[in-house]
């Protein structure tokens, strides 16, 4: 589903966010992306939906050469994937319902499909009762769940989640992670960048660890911290 080959990314300000990164993610995989703040997790995800372009290297997503994508083909790529942004990126003058519906409207979906899918997505994230509220009236967790609902509503083949539980309480976190698992079981490839140790350690999924823009480990059933079991914490 995703193939990243020798990708480096240097931002215009000179920051080298990714350094010769190579990564293969198969169809239906569930992958955690972990690492300290500022090691390039978001940068890597942004490359996958062509918000930024790599300085060098090749990126293929669902058979599309993303690094060489022509401007006109970008929308088609993005419609095939759902993205939960670290900063949610909700439209402040649209209600929760409209924000979620919006992701379908831009694809030219029929109104009757929108009317069917949006309530379902809101129900999945437990926000049906807030559908008429505006982002400004939501708690951080509710805004985050709105963003998740929007990413899900088109039934994407690939779901990219940047810190999707950063603002959720433990029970909400568990619910959302279970939701992501269920979606994954139905065949969607899921990539989650996270700092949430408990989640990673409990789920025991593939863990790709970044450090200073490099992939340092890639374990099939890994933990948040390298080589450590559940409940253990590194001091210092």
């Amino acid at each position: 589903m995703i193939s990243v080959r020798n990708v480096s990314l240097t931002y215009p300000n000179g920051v080298r966010a990714l350094d010769n990164v190579s990564l293969e993610i198969g169809k239906g995989d569930f992958v955690f992306l972990v690492g300290h703040s500022g090691t390039g997790k978001s940068s890597l995800l942004r490359l996958l939906y062509h918000e930024t372009v790599p300085t060098s290297g090749e990126i293929t997503v669902d058979g599309i050469r993303v690094d060489r994508l022509k401007r006109g083909r970008i929308p088609a790529l993005r419609r095939h994937l759902g993205v939960v942004f670290q900063d949610y990126k909700l439209l402040n003058d649209k209600t929760v319902w409209e924000n979620v519906a919006f992701a379908m409207q831009v694809t030219g979906a029929h109104t009757k499909d929108i009317m069917r899918q949006v309530p379902r997505a809101l129900d999945l994230v437990g926000l049906s009762h807030k559908s008429r509220m505006f982002p400004g009236e939501l708690s951080g967790g509710e805004a985050q769940r709105t963003a998740i609902a929007r990413a899900l509503v088109n039934n994407p083949k690939l779901l990219l989640c940047d810190e999707p539980t950063g603002n959720l309480d433990p029970s909400n976190t568990t619910e959302i992670m279970e939701l992501l698992l269920r979606i994954n079981v139905k065949g969607t490839t899921v990539v989650v960048a996270t700092h949430n140790q408990a989640v990673v350690d409990r789920m025991r999924r593939r863990v790709v660890r970044l450090e200073d823009g490099k992939i340092v480990t890639d374990e099939e059933r890994g933990y948040y911290y390298l080589g450590l079991g559940q409940g253990q914490v590194l001091s210092g």
């Binding site: 419609r79 990126k89 909700l90 831009v106 694809t107 030219g108 029929h110 109104t111």
Partner: protein
């Protein structure tokens, strides 16, 4: 037809339109001013052109025959002229009729009764369809046999034709400048509204909206700006036409101003189309510029 989509689209347009009321007012005002100036200019130009045409249309070519010209020669000239597609009419004025005309025109100052012989030659009075062809027709007639002289108000024709072409050329330049300035102002205004919504636009792009999809509401907005602006302008122009024009006609009695040469419905349609077109074009350009960066 998916009415949900239509409703959504119109909702978007309306929302954008009402949100930046100040900027919309600027854009609409710019269109209105441009169209008022343009309309006034076109109106004056049409009136002047009409004035020139009135004079030109009354111009006639007098064809004088030699005193010994035969009826046969005169008939040949008449036949040739009747066949000429440029010629509108040919009238024969005999020596006697010519004398009578002269008498009438001079109000008897010239005592024609003193004449022992009629000195006037036979003549044809020729009118053409297109004033621009006067000179060529006159030259052609001059070469015909039996024709002594061909007379027409040469300088007036030349001047008026020249004036017409100058008006046309100046008009094109003035109109182009008007439209360019208006286009720049409107596209800057719309650029501000685009800038105010850049976050929204970037989110739309991130969830997979095509550029056309993002553009459409802005184009519609530009179209509305242009339409409303030009309708306002036409209101102002109409008011001016009925309130100021009569005063102007009175103030300039020596010029026979005649507004009827202006075809009002066509002018109104032209102005509205122009307004709408500037709106659409300038928003197209400014959104496009934003989307490309």
């Amino acid at each position: 037809m998916d009415w949900g989509k239509v409703k959504f689209f119109l909702g978007e347009v309306l929302r954008n339109f009402t949100r930046n009321a100040g900027m919309q007012a600027t854009a609409i005002g710019t269109v209105a001013i441009t169209i008022v100036l343009l309309g006034a200019f076109l109106f004056v130009r049409a009136t002047l052109a009409g004035l020139g045409n009135d004079i030109l249309n009354q111009i006639e070519i007098s064809v004088y025959f030699t005193n010994d010209a035969s009826t046969h020669q005169e008939d040949a000239v008449r036949a040739a002229l009747s066949k000429d597609p440029r010629v509108a009419s040919v009238a024969f004025v005999s020596k006697q009729a010519g004398l009578k005309e002269l008498r009438a025109e001079t109000h008897g100052v010239i005592d024609t009764s003193l004449l022992t012989e009629n000195p006037l030659p036979d003549k044809f009075r020729v009118r053409v369809h297109d004033p621009a062809s006067v000179q060529n027709v006159a030259l052609a007639i001059r070469k015909m046999s039996g024709v002594a002289n061909v007379v027409y108000p040469q300088t007036i024709v030349a001047r008026l034709l020249q004036l017409g072409s100058v008006l046309r050329r100046v008009g094109i330049v003035v109109i182009a400048v008007f439209l360019l300035v208006a286009g720049i102002i409107i596209s800057n205004t719309i650029r501000l509204t685009v800038f105010a919504r850049r976050r929204e636009i970037s989110i739309m792009q991130l969830v997979g909206a095509t550029n056309m999809y993002i553009r459409a509401p802005f184009i519609c907005e530009g179209f509305l700006d242009g339409l409303i602006g030009s309708v306002i302008a036409i209101g102002l122009l109409t008011a001016a036409r009925f309130m100021l024009w009569p005063k102007l006609v009175l103030a300039l009695p020596w010029i026979q101003l005649n507004a009827s040469t202006v075809h009002a419905p066509a002018l109104v349609a032209e102005l509205i189309l122009t307004g709408a077109a500037i709106g659409i074009l300038s928003s197209w350009i400014s959104v496009g510029r934003h989307l490309r960066t």
